[in-house]
């Protein structure tokens, strides 16, 4: 484990598990919270809520478009609905309903996509969501959250329940390394500088946050001081923190388990072009993946610390 950092990166709960547990807690606290699921309660982990509050869990069957619109109707009548499915399905099959019934009229629906990225593993590309952040960020009025671990997920779900307006939360299938202390606090739209550094900044979200911490260790061994920033709020993006990092370190790497052309990296590049132009390299997905174990896939498709470190060296070479 990283020698020069404070992070042990022990495996914690999958972020979907943290979502499900938190949702059940919220159900106890607020009778207005209702949940829709599309025949995946045992996978999205809305099963905890379903067991505790069966009368407030609406099983929609395998019909995501209808589920999103049902959720919108519940929200229009004053409920706080969370609708959940695999990210690959809810963001694509429910997208038009989110656009017309949720985003444009600014309706208070919470959408949670689980099993995002390629780390769903063996199920393969039809179930892998590599486009969900792009789709969610394309919708005005949506806040888009991509928590890195169980602690950040718990906060994200609680924040979403209290916020009036549409929210998308991206969760993963596999156990996620714990980055945050249980009592850590977060602020919406504010990235977290996990490690200070002066030569390059590694910007990450989701599972890649832990990889960036490990990459900073690799780089430290080469005498390179890498700053690490976790972006849990993809939209609104913390442009100020990113611009500061660009000005102070002069080069950045953005790492995400998402298509590089349309995810966090694209948004970071846009922000920097506006406020503090600097060379940026991107670690992410460029093609549809395949079946395999989550760990094999993350290795095979370059979603690991060595690829982040290589991108850092590359961007450093471009730095004036």
């Amino acid at each position: 484990m990283p020698a020069n950092t404070k992070f042990e990166l022990k495996l914690g709960a999958p972020t979907r598990e943290a979502f499900g547990r938190t949702l059940a807690e919220l159900g106890k606290e607020n009778p207005n919270i209702v949940v829709g699921d599309a025949d995946l309660t045992k996978s999205t982990m809305t099963t905890y809520f379903a067991k505790a509050f069966p009368e407030r869990l609406f099983e929609c069957g395998i019909a995501e478009a209808n589920m999103v619109a049902i959720g919108a109707g519940l929200a229009m009548s004053g409920k706080i609905p969370f609708v959940s499915s695999f990210s690959a399905f809810i963001m694509t099959k429910g997208f038009e309903q989110m656009r017309c019934l949720v985003a444009y009229p600014n309706v208070n629906l919470k959408v949670v996509g689980t099993h995002s990225g390629i780390s769903i593993g063996e199920d393969g590309p039809s179930q892998m969501s590599m486009e969900d952040l792009a789709l969610a960020c394309a919708l005005p009025n949506f806040t888009v959250l991509s928590p890195a671990d169980e602690v950040a997920t718990k906060w994200a779900v609680r924040w979403a329940a209290n916020h009036v307006g549409p929210v998308f939360i991206r969760c993963g299938r596999v156990k996620a390394p714990v980055i945050y202390d249980a009592d850590a606090t977060f602020e919406i739209g504010k990235g977290v500088e996990l490690l200070g550094g002066t030569d390059v900044t590694l910007v990450a979200t989701g599972l890649l946050t832990a990889e960036c911490i490990k990459a900073s260790d690799i780089l430290a061994g080469e005498g390179i001081s890498a700053r690490v920033i976790d972006i849990h709020t993809i939209k609104p993006l913390d442009e100020e923190l990113l611009a500061k990092a660009a000005r102070e370190t002069g080069a950045l790497v953005v790492a995400e388990e998402h298509l590089v052309d349309s995810g966090l990296g694209a948004r970071v590049a846009q922000a920097l072009a506006r406020h503090a132009p600097a060379p940026v390299e991107f670690v992410g997905l460029t093609r549809y993946a395949e079946s395999g174990s989550p760990d094999e896939l993350l290795d095979h498709y370059g979603m690991r610390a060595p690829e982040v470190a290589a991108a850092a060296r590359k961007v450093l070479a471009r730095k004036k």
Partner: protein
């Protein structure tokens, strides 16, 4: 507004709403007069006789809900909302103009008394089912109504929602299919036939009532039957005439999405005098 159950009075209101539809779409030089005219009796019967609502308290929590899923028929809804007193009558002719509250399709951002923004077809049935679930959770007497276009129910989501509504015994929801048999490209039977329509809804577990959608007394009876039907949602298959009330528009696919010109406005208003 003065609510009424008197069919003759309701028919008089219908004539007024039809005049609004003609002048509104005429002034806009675009819009969907045909499918607005076909739904007039349905909306007028709902708003003046059936719905529990109060224009003085548009957000009254226990009000009944109405969603116009076939959002392109906005002119009929705007005429009704204005005559009820929710919105101004005098600006109806700003329909579709920049800054007007009378947007091309119903938009809650401009008219807060609307229950939902609509326009993308196939979505409204799900929305009222969500509203129906919320009412049941709250033990509220609220009933939720949605008007669907006939072409609209070619959308797959309608049938996802139909399955959901019957399974969840949404007896506080009533859908009305405005079966005017014409969609943009022509007659529904030639585009993608809906028949056997009543059998489809029946097989999905809905209580089905077929009726003449311009017969106010029949509509009143059907809405009462829907409210009395427990354990399943009700759908009214309302046989209507596209362009109803204006002779040259009736049953003419041209007036699905084409507004009347000046000469046609004059002719139409004469017929609706």
């Amino acid at each position: 507004m003065q609510k009424t159950s008197n069919p003759a009075e309701l028919a008089g209101i219908c004539r007024q709403i039809r005049r609004h539809i003609i002048t509104m779409t005429g002034a806009a030089k675009s819009g969907h007069p045909g499918g607005s005219l076909s739904a007039v009796e349905i909306l007028v019967t709902l708003y003046w006789d059936v719905l529990r609502h109060d224009p003085a308290q548009p957000r009254w929590p226990e009000r009944d809900r109405f969603v116009l899923s076939k959002g392109h028929a906005a002119p009929v809804l705007y005429g009704v909302l204005a005559e009820c007193g929710y919105t101004p009558v005098e600006s109806l002719n700003t329909l579709r103009k920049l800054g007007s509250i009378y947007q091309g399709h119903p938009d809650v951002r401009f008219i807060p008394a609307l229950e939902a923004s609509t326009g993308s077809l196939g979505e409204g049935l799900s929305v009222v089912l969500g509203m129906g679930l919320a009412a049941k959770l709250d033990n509220s007497p609220t009933r939720s109504y949605v008007v669907l276009g006939d072409g609209e129910i070619q959308e797959g989501q309608i049938w996802e929602a139909a399955m959901f509504g019957a399974f969840h015994k949404a007896d506080n929801v009533c859908a009305i299919v405005d079966y005017n048999r014409i969609q943009l490209d022509g007659f529904t039977k030639d585009i993608l036939d809906l028949e056997p329509l009543a059998a489809k809804w029946q097989s999905f577990g809905w209580h089905v009532i077929e009726l003449d959608g311009h017969d106010i007394a029949a509509l009143q009876a059907a809405f009462a039957e829907a409210a009395a039907t427990k354990g399943k949602p009700t759908v009214l298959i309302a046989h209507t005439v596209k362009g109803k009330g204006v002779s040259f528009m009736e049953n003419n696919p041209k007036y699905h999405g084409v507004a009347p010109n000046a000469e046609e406005i004059e002719l139409a208003l004469k017929e609706l005098a």
